[in-house]
Amino acid sequence: MIEYLTRYYDKLLTATLEHLEIVMITLMISLAIAAVLTIVSSYSKVVSRVLLNLFSMIYSIPSLALLALLIPVTGLGKKTAIIALVIYNQYLLLRNFLAGLEGVDPSIIEAAKGMGLTRMQMLFRVQVPLAKSALIAGMRIALVSTVGIATIASAINAGGLGGILFDGLRTMNIPKIVWGSILSALLAILIDRLLVFVEKRSEKADK
């Protein structure tokens, strides 16, 4: 086990970095899209319900099936994997973002509205700062899920730790299976901790 690590550490490192790359790109794109969708949803209850139902439906498609559906359109590889991951994230992000923003004390919202804040001012000056921990919680869920599903995406040649894992499965190479799993779990935990740290820091900065 350790022997595999010392012999192939560069291969493992490359796979880990590749995995991280997929996760980070996915996260950036997901957040940008989710932010826009959240703003759009804040203008209309109907739109927000339609979007949530749509993404919840897509979210329930198994990941291999969604990848298979995308291949004829976008081909094999990283790009397709990232598209699928971004689509999955929209449900997790949007649901948590909207729940967080709606969870802000209604009397604060009413006071702000009565003072003549526009919807955008309300969103960015009042709702987002007050819902910050709920927003970060949503991002954490999306990140952990992305790290996990990204391993499956290597089934369509997207690379990453899933490549090592699937290789191991195909050849019944136990060290490969174990290292592939441990490293992807470790990656999920580390990124999650990092976000918790960011959240704590920003809370301290508020006080």
């Binding site: 009397s107 604060i108 009413e110 509205k113 009565g114 003072m115 003549g116 000056r125």
Partner: protein, 255 residues
């Protein structure tokens, strides 16, 4: 004296309700009056108030402020011209006292020095020492102090009309008396039009130049406290006055 607020046959029925929260109300309020709105829970006081700053839109009829039909004016503009204070106060917990008060001045891009001066002026006006309070967070204030900040925040850009929805509803009776006296003082010195909702008859009669008595969405009587006590217009008003008199008699028995 000019007319500050006019309701012309205003009706508002909420979706699914089988009676109107505000039912064909017409009224005229002069600039500088202190009006209190009295009535039991659910009679439409809040609904009436919220149609003035367009938090609610009437189903029919029109609301006119200083001669201007507010349905033709941008909502945000209407609201920034009106001070609004609610029972739950709704201070922003992530802002300091001075940031809370400065919210609208900042949106209007006043310069920093002017904002700072205004914050201190308002804190003094509501009886709080600026040095001690301006940098506190709402969680570091008592209920009464929070409501003073709520009032200061609503006064920030010197609105001509102040709407107050049971602002002292959750405050103990001693602090409440004090706040009532201060509010009367403020009103006397500012010449603004005040609308103050309460379901406490003593508060309504003490504060109001004129009192609106509502029941089930309708205005039963709109007159000075003296006139209402002298000549209740309706059995419901009569029973309100009687209940206040009974309370008075109860206390008198102990003196």
């Amino acid at each position: 004296m000019s007319t500050a607020i006019e309701f012309r046959n205003v009706t508002k029925t909420f979706h699914g309700a089988n009676y109107s929260a505000v039912d064909h109300v017409s009224l005229t309020i002069d600039e500088g009056e202190f009006i209190t709105i009295l009535g039991s829970s659910g009679c439409g006081k809040t609904t009436l108030l919220k149609m003035i700053n367009r938090l609610y839109e009437p189903d029919s009829g029109s609301v006119i402020l200083f001669g201007e039909d507010i349905s033709t004016v941008d909502v945000v503009k209407v609201r920034r011209r009106i001070g609004y204070v609610i029972q739950q106060i709704g201070l922003f917990p992530h802002y300091t006292v001075s940031e809370n008060i400065a919210t609208v001045p900042k949106l209007l891009k006043w310069d920093k020095a002017k904002i700072a001066a205004r914050v201190d002026e308002l804190l003094t006006l509501v009886g709080l020492d600026p040095k001690e309070f301006r940098n506190r967070y709402p969680s570091q204030l008592s209920g009464g102090q929070q409501q003073r900040i709520g009032l200061a925040r609503a006064l920030a850009v010197d609105p001509k009309i102040m709407l107050m929805d049971e602002p002292f509803g959750a405050i103990d009776s001693i602090t409440r008396e004090k706040l009532q006296d201060e509010l009367l003082n403020l009103h006397r010195n500012m010449g603004k039009t005040f609308l103050f909702v309460t379901h406490d008859i003593e508060e309504a009669f003490k504060l109001g130049d004129r009192v609106i008595i509502m029941n089930e969405g309708k205005i039963l009587q709109f007159d000075t406290p003296e006139a209402i006590i002298r000549e209740p217009a309706d059995p419901f008003v009569q029973s309100l006055v009687d209940s206040a008199k009974a309370k008075e008699a109860f206390w008198r028995a102990y003196l």
